[in-house]
């Protein structure tokens, strides 16, 4: 061993260029002098002899240079070979060490697998959801376009069809604009009728604007949105193609019956989101001349011409808007446009923020795992201090020792990364199963090359960080004093102990920050679930009844009435009613409202959502009628003559008639649009209509008149609501076998879906924070146990001179708690600084919530005390006699 060490040292000194040069000089000078001596002994005088020697030798300067060059290339090659040789030795050594200490290796690998696995899993989600490019050609040229009325406070409305066609024809900076209308169609001809989601698009929507091609067949042809072409054509979404036709290409040119009409399948779209798998089937929008300009119906996107910026496109459309405003001053007063880049489609701000926070959280988790691992290596380095000292004394260079330590930690961390990858693969599947459905791109998250690269990087970084600290420590200790102290270097231990305390403080601090984050999210979620919703969700079932457009008004009303009558006859039904957009669905309708006897308030007309409801809706959904009365069948019958009978939410009553009785008053509905008068017949409680975390809206409820909106039926049951589903289905089939029931859910499901993403974030952060706490406590325990073992002789002395058990316990625990308390204080400060990045994820809880901070600090202190206590107890049982013997 020593001789090979010797060789290495010589190798490394060769690296020094100056030394190499010196050696070349020395060798050549020796030759010249010997030669000169020879000539002198033949009788030359010294100067002549030297000249003759140089003549025989050749120009010394030139030869030195070329010899040095040859030598440097030789030494470089040899060093490389030695490096490889060392690496092989270090690797063999590292694996032997791992194998020899299975407990150490097991703990280290488990911690690393956990840390790296969590990071890999979350990174693969982040990569797939946030970093992966959109599935379109040159997506930075694609934009989303909205209409705006900034004076009325809305910036992003869908575009009215009349305006869309003008925007498309009159702009100069877009290749094409495309429009998309969300719709639905009943598919018949199969065993059961089925409701399909239907996207209605302009001809250029897929090809010109998104730049996608059909995987088989074609997308729409120019002119198909203007009624030309080969009759009814339909393009299938990829998911639908697979779920209904098993991905069979022979689907082309087959016929489908949608809403009673026959359509020819002409193509299938590629997979992807957004837009592509939004709907099951796609049909062309038909252009109407004289299309409406005040009904906001179309989602509009556009592809900018090459070289045009978003700003140029926006200004261009704004100038078109000004021309439209001049042409239609009544309908389009104040019209503007908002243009947003397609990068916004990747994920909502909240999803984005939640994922980055999660990535940060698992990053911290890995940090704690690293600290623990560094501590383990450090403890082992102390155990091997004598061996290291001997090697240092026999000439192993610092660099060599550090490299060996690093090789060992890299081997451990790369093995850990491999295990972590397995864990991540499992974790990603669990995560997908747990996640709410509204994160695009989550379902096809995979471990791809980017993820592998990330994992490898995490492994290498971990190895370097955990290996460098102990290796530097070990190589830094003074060999001579270590050997003199019989392998128990006092100075070395003191430095190690200090470092260990710092590491403990760091991991306590980091885990505290994570716990504060998770605590804030848990508190938020508690607030959210405890929030006053204004409606009941228990034992409520909701389903869409897809009454087709072909039903005439009378047919529609009589169908609705028969449906409600029959449903109410079912045994467990307490009440049933219809609504045209179900609560918490995110679907929105808006109207401006005003008091006719008052000028518009400052800041423009307020905006309310409106719902068509059947009598009994409020009772069924559990919203109280505070004043006045519910709608009746007579209200519906009387519609058309006089003002619309309307119920308003409490907030509207307070807004328009503060302190007055609103009953019987006239309210202007669709203010600024159709200006329809309504009569307030009742006031109902506010409800969280848009989502549990959205706050109450202004709401207006009107009789369910036939306006082309298929109803949702809400049923309040006596027992479990899902038991009713089959009977409801067969009942609807009895009334009309072509009407499918769809989107069946309990109100509890709806509530769950509404808070799904918040719950997901909370659960994920809490799991990782919990793991972090466990790792940190394991760290505190490990360090405490180690330091008690180290101090056994010292404690023995104390016991021998009469220290009581209580005194020893106190001293040992105090010693362990000092870094922990320090870490708690540090962590509180860090949490205060970092949690503000998650303020948008919180609901009615401040990021500085004192309750959370105090609670988490308390939990950590108690837990740290507990994990310091067990080793301390062992310290009190030290038998002085045995303790001295170990010395």
């Amino acid at each position: 061993m020593a001789s090979s060490l010797d060789r290495w040292i010589r190798m490394w000194s060769h690296l020094s260029r100056r030394r190499l040069k010196g050696e070349v000089d020395e060798e050549l000078e020796f030759h010249l002098e010997m030669l000169a001596q020879k000539y002198e002994s033949q009788g030359m005088d010294p100067a002549d002899a030297r000249r003759a020697a140089e003549e025989r030798f050749g120009d010394p300067g030139r030869i030195k240079k070329s010899t040095f060059r040859a030598e440097r290339s030789r030494v470089k090659q040899r060093n490389r070979a030695v490096l490889m040789d060392n690496l092989r030795q270090d690797l063999r050594f590292a694996f032997r060490q791992l194998w020899k200490r299975p407990v150490f290796s097991g703990i280290a690998l488990a911690m690393l697998a956990l840390g790296i696995g969590a990071n890999t899993a979350i990174f693969s989600v982040v990569h797939n959801v946030l970093l992966r490019p959109l599935p379109f050609h040159e997506p930075d040229r694609i934009v989303r376009i909205w209409e705006s009325r900034l004076e009325q406070g809305w910036e992003r409305a869908s575009v009215a069809p009349g305006n869309f066609w003008d925007f498309r024809d009159m702009n100069r900076s877009f290749v094409d604009l495309g429009a998309y209308r969300f719709s639905a169609a009943n598919l018949t001809g199969g065993e059961h009728p089925e409701q399909l989601s239907q996207g209605r698009v302009t001809s250029g929507f897929f090809g010109e604007v998104l730049g996608v091609r059909a995987v088989i067949g074609r997308t729409f042809l120019p002119g198909e949105d203007e009624g030309q072409g080969e009759g009814n054509v339909v393009v299938l979404g990829n998911e639908f193609w697979h779920s209904h036709f098993g991905g069979d290409p022979s689907v082309l040119n087959t016929q489908m019956t949608l809403d009673g009409e026959s359509y020819t399948v002409v193509g299938v779209l590629p997979r992807g989101r957004p837009w592509l798998d939004f709907a099951d089937v796609y049909t062309p929008i038909l252009r109407e001349f004289e299309a409406v300009r005040t009904s906001f119906e179309l989602a509009v996107i556009g592809r900018l011409r090459d070289g045009m910026t978003l700003e140029v496109g926006r200004d261009d459309l704004a100038s078109v808007a000004r021309r439209l405003e001049e042409a239609f001053p009544e309908d389009l007063a104040g019209i503007g446009v908002t243009v947003g880049p397609s990068s916004e489609w990747v994920a909502t701000d909240e999803t984005r923020r939640a994922l980055w926070v999660l990535l940060g959280v698992v990053g911290f988790l890995l940090m704690i795992a690293c600290v623990n691992l560094a501590n383990l290596f450090l403890a082992r380095a102390t155990g091997r201090v004598r061996e290291t000292a001997i090697r240092a004394a026999t000439g192993a260079s610092k660099g060599r020792l550090i490299r060996q330590g690093l090789t060992e930690s890299l081997v451990v961390s790369l093995l850990g990364a491999g295990l972590g990858l397995v864990l991540a693969w499992w974790g990603v599947n669990t995560l997908i199963a747990m996640a709410p459905g509204n994160i695009d791109g989550l379902s096809d998250v995979t471990i791809n090359a980017w993820v592998l690269a990330f994992t490898l990087g995490a492994g290498v970084l971990t190895g370097v960080v955990t290996g460098l600290v102990p290796a530097l420590q070990a190589s830094g200790s003074d060999a001579a004093s270590t050997l003199r102290a019989g392998g128990q270097s006092i100075a070395g231990n003191r430095a190690h102990n200090r470092l260990r305390s710092v590491l403990v403080a760091a991991e306590v601090a980091v885990s505290l920050m994570l716990l504060v984050g998770s605590g804030l999210l848990i508190r938020s979620f508690g607030e959210l679930m405890g929030a006053e919703r204004g409606f009941e969700s228990e034992n409520r079932l909701i389903a869409s009844v897809n009454v087709p457009d072909q039903y005439g008004p009378d047919e529609f009303l009589s169908f609705n009435q028969r449906l409600l009558d029959r449903v109410r006859e079912l045994g467990p039904v307490q009440s049933a009613a219809l609504v045209h957009i179900r609560p918490l669905s995110g679907g929105s309708t808006g109207l401006g409202f005003a008091r006719p006897d008052q000028p518009d308030p400052e800041g423009g007309t307020p905006w309310a959502s409106w719902r068509l409801v059947s009598p009994g809706y409020f009772e069924t959904i559990g919203v109280p009628v505070l004043r006045g009365r519910d709608l009746t069948a007579d209200d519906l019958a009387a519609m058309g003559d006089g003002p619309l009978p309307a119920l308003i939410s409490e907030r509207i009553a307070e807004q328009l008639w503060p302190g007055e009785d609103p009953l019987g008053r006239t309210i202007t509905l669709w203010a600024g649009q159709t200006e329809s008068p309504g009569e307030v017949i009742g006031v109902v409680g506010d409800m969280l209509e848009r989502g549990i975390d959205q706050g109450p809206t202004f709401a207006v409820y009107l009789p369910y008149f036939p306006a082309g909106f298929a109803p949702d039926i809400v049923v309040h049951t006596a027992g479990a609501p899902t038991a009713l589903v089959p009977r409801l289905r067969s009942l609807v089939a009895e009334l009309d076998p072509n009407i499918p029931l769809s989107d069946v859910a309990t109100m509890e499901d709806m509530v769950g879906r509404s808070v799904g993403s918040r719950r997901f974030t909370m659960v994920m952060v809490s799991i990782f924070a919990g793991l972090a706490l466990l790792l940190a406590l394991a760290g505190v325990y490990g360090v405490q146990a180690y330091s008690v073992a180290q101090q056994t002789p010292e404690i023995g002395v104390r016991v021998a001179i009469g220290a009581s058990k209580a005194q020893i316990l106190k001293k040992v625990i105090f010693q362990a708690m000092r870094p922990a308390i320090f870490g708690v204080v540090l962590g509180l400060g860090g949490a205060y600084g970092l949690t503000r990045f998650m303020s948008s994820l919180l609901f009615q809880v401040e990021t500085s919530d004192p309750l959370t901070y105090a609670g988490v600090a308390g939990i950590l202190v108690v837990a740290a005390l507990f994990s310091a206590f067990l080793p301390a107890l062992r310290a009190t049982r030290v038998d002085p006699v045995i303790a001295f013997r170990t010395e």
């Binding site: 060798e27 050549l28 060059r69 040899r78």
Partner: protein, 116 residues
Amino acid sequence: MPSPKPESKADLLKGTLDLLILKALTFGPRHGYGIARWLEESSRDLLHIEEGSLYPALSRMEKRGWIQSEWGSSETNRRAKYYRLTASGRGQLSSQAQGWERLVEAMSLVLHKKQA
């Protein structure tokens, strides 16, 4: 005086220096000066060698693994670098020597040919 008379000496053919050095080391380790002296004696000073050119050649040969160097002390008790033949160097010597002899044989056959 041994002032060299270039016209009476043979210039070294390219590639033959390696062969000479390998041969010089077959009788045991030598330093560079020692190699030069041995070559001078054994060729009866007929070869014109620029002695300095030995050193880049030695380094190159060491890189190829034919020889190994080690610092030691000389007959006059000075630090000097000694070169020793390795097993692969020995193999190299015999194959180069064979090649050389074939060349010499072919050359003299050609040069002694009397008629066309």
